[in-house]
């Protein structure tokens, strides 16, 4: 089922005693989530992404705007009537119930014509347990399971009543790095098998990139950019999006445009035909550097970290915003490092120019 958010806004009253002004957690959201897709809501903590999720599932009421599921306006509907499944960051498994009873819990709430017999419930539980591969854990208590297993149970509980929309709040943040990789593939598989429209919230850009069909990047309650992971990475709309996506982080330099060229310090690094003069930020992806003894960008060499396939060059430049910049170079390239300097030329597709004042991207 497709979800449409129209001018969705949520304001909270200020908590601090001195400053009573409102906090705008979600500011005028407009977007459409197509049916059967996996959407990642991505942003730093406190950017309002969890609030957005709560608005979609009905735990919070919006200050303004509308939420539409399919063709129906559900804005004022309480959560229990929306047919959503929600997976919490800490799973929220009932600690006093077994896995089986945890999954059964939502089924037992069904009333009237939806009421299920014991056998029907059991069939549904077995089915969903199989889907998330926890058939052999059904008699355990949550405290007797690992984080990854608890996560699966939480997903099973959310899926068992066949929600029209599945919502996940930071689903992987409580897992260790290895489990996170595994579970995120699981998530993708489960979502594809069930075809349920799924929205998940995360602050981890790698996680969002790796499984989402579409990413929504947020900052301070404002939607920054929405699109497929690769296109956002390749075509960031502003400096925030460019910096937030990609590891190692994008390298940002103070630069300027003059006479149809982009300059960092004295060095002209790119052509910028037809662009007005002015200060800009030059953001270069780590993989955008090419070792070139005649290259325009001269940096002070600090160290080199060998990572097998690639080598990471750490260097300094006085126009660099931050401490040290980082370039990823294929390991077979040779560098002698005699004079303590390193020179790069740049791949134009990996360099983004942003307006010095608005941080908006300038397309060359």
């Amino acid at each position: 089922m497709k979800i449409v958010l129209e001018h969705l806004t949520k304001k909270f009253p200020g908590i601090s005693k001195k400053d009573k002004s409102e906090v705008i957690a979600v500011n005028d959201f407009n977007f459409e989530i197509p049916d059967g897709k996996l959407i990642g809501l991505l942003g730093p903590s406190g950017c309002g992404k969890s609030t957005a999720l709560n608005l979609i599932c009905g735990l919070e009421k919006p200050t303004n705007g509308r939420i539409i599921f399919g063709d129906l306006d559900v804005t004022g509907l309480p959560p229990e009537n929306r047919g959503v499944g929600l997976v919490f960051q800490n799973y929220a498994l009932y600690p006093h119930l077994t896995v089986y009873d945890n999954i059964k819990f939502p089924l037992e709430n069904l009333r009237g014509k939806d009421k299920l017999t014991k056998e029907q419930m059991d069939a549904k539980i077995q089915e969903v347990a199989k889907l998330v591969q926890i058939e052999n854990l059904l008699e355990r208590r949550p405290s007797e399971m690992s984080g990854g297993q608890q996560q699966r149970v939480a997903i099973a509980r959310a899926l068992v009543k066949r929600p029209q929309v599945l919502l996940l709040d930071e689903p992987l943040s409580n897992l260790d790095a290895r489990l996170r990789l595994q579970t995120r593939e699981e998530l993708k598989r489960i979502q594809q098998e069930t075809g349920i429209t799924t929205v998940f919230v995360t602050h981890d850009q790698e996680e969002a990139m790796s499984i989402s069909d579409t990413i929504v990047v947020m900052k301070d309650g404002v939607l920054q950019q929405m699109g497929e992971p690769q296109s956002i990475y390749d075509e960031p709309i502003n400096l925030f999006v460019a910096s937030f996506l990609g590891t190692p982080q994008i390298n940002v330099f103070d630069g300027y445009i003059k006479d149809g060229g982009v300059y960092i310090g004295e060095a002209k690094v790119l052509d910028a035909k037809g662009q007005p003069d002015g200060d800009v930020s030059v953001a270069i992806r780590p993989e955008g550097f090419v070792l070139d003894s005649n290259g325009p960008l001269e940096c002070e060499f600090v160290t080199r970290e060998v990572m097998g396939r690639d080598t990471s060059f750490v260097a300094k430049h006085d126009k660099f915003r931050g401490e040290k910049l980082r370039a990823i170079i294929p390991s077979e390239e040779i560098y002698d490092g005699k004079d303590g300097k390193v020179r790069f030329s740049l791949k134009p597709s990996k360099v983004h120019i942003f307006d010095g004042k608005t941080d908006e991207r300038i397309k060359l």
């Binding site: 129906l72 306006d73 559900v74 004022g76 509907l77 309480p78 009537n81």
Partner: protein, 290 residues
């Protein structure tokens, strides 16, 4: 599901929420009235004059001619000020002595190492299960034999130790990182200086809790003082009020009785209203750890 049905569900959810709120607040108000009414009645009766109180077959819920004469009676006809003063001394001395005993023991259990610590501590803990009613008989005999009836010593001594508070404070002391103690030792700080300068300030919330609980207990204690005192000069407020009830003012002077009740209740109620969050937090903490 369709748009219309949704609107209905929304509407229903909103009205049921309103009804729920109304029911909740009315129930809460009923209990609040049940709690407050005796207090209201006691103040009201205490400012009605003797004559007007007794002439009301159906008592009035207000009075248009409040008077303070009952308070004068309360302080003059019976030694209320004396009871008051006794209770104050009893409360302050008992609480102070108990704090010293409790702090020293908790410190020994929490920070000092000595032979037999575990055994002594488990013996202490097992004493926690002994109900007061079981030992009060012998204590009564002991105090009588020591000729300490009708003395403050006799009143105070049996209640200056509390295993429960020792336990509570020991737990709290143990949460202070041991590194602090080691650092202090390296600096040549003595044990007692460390106790005074570090542990007591850090454990202040727990100490305040214990003090409050003990003060309330002392102020309201009735059974032991009743056993140990029959001289009015050593009565505490609880015994005093019982005395007033049975012999004071002549039985029917209810307004004067109520004035005495108000006077006795005021100190703790004021203390509570001022420190209410601390007190409630303290009672909750003291209660749940038992």
């Amino acid at each position: 599901m369709n748009e219309l049905e949704n609107k209905k569900i929304e509407e229903k959810a909103r009205t049921s929420e309103k009804v729920r709120k109304a029911v909740m607040y009315s129930l809460l108000t009923v209990w609040a009235i049940l709690v407050l009414f005796p207090f209201y009645w006691m103040i009201l009766s205490s400012i009605k004059s003797y004559g007007s109180y007794n002439s009301e077959y159906i008592p009035k819920f207000f009075t248009l001619s409040p008077t303070l004469e009952n308070y004068v009676t309360a302080f003059t006809a019976v030694p209320l000020a004396r009871y008051f003063f006794n209770t104050l001394i009893f409360t302050v001395v008992t609480t102070a002595l108990m704090m010293i005993v409790v702090i020293l023991s908790a410190f020994a259990f929490a920070r000092l190492d000595f032979k037999g610590k575990d055994i002594v501590f488990s013996l202490f803990l097992s004493l926690m299960m002994i109900p007061n009613e079981l030992v009060i008989i012998t204590n009564y005999v002991t105090i009588t034999n020591l000729n300490m009836r009708n003395t403050f010593m006799g009143l105070i001594l049996p209640s200056v130790t509390s295993v429960f508070y020792i336990y509570l404070l020991k737990e709290n002391f143990e949460q202070i990182p041991e590194n602090l103690y080691k650092a202090a030792k390296v600096d040549g700080t003595s044990d007692f200086r460390y106790l005074w300068k570090v542990m007591i300030p850090i454990s202040k919330p727990t100490l305040v809790t214990i003090t409050i609980l003990k003060v309330i207990e002392c102020w309201n204690s009735y059974v032991w003082p009743r056993l140990i005192t029959d001289d009015q000069n050593y009565f505490l407020v609880s015994n005093g009020i019982q005395e007033i009830r049975e012999n004071g003012f002549g039985r029917e002077n209810v307004p004067a009785m109520m004035a005495a009740v108000v006077v006795i209740s005021v100190p703790l109620v004021v203390l509570f209203l001022v420190f209410r969050h601390k007190i409630m937090e303290g009672v909750a903490r003291g209660g749940t750890k038992g």
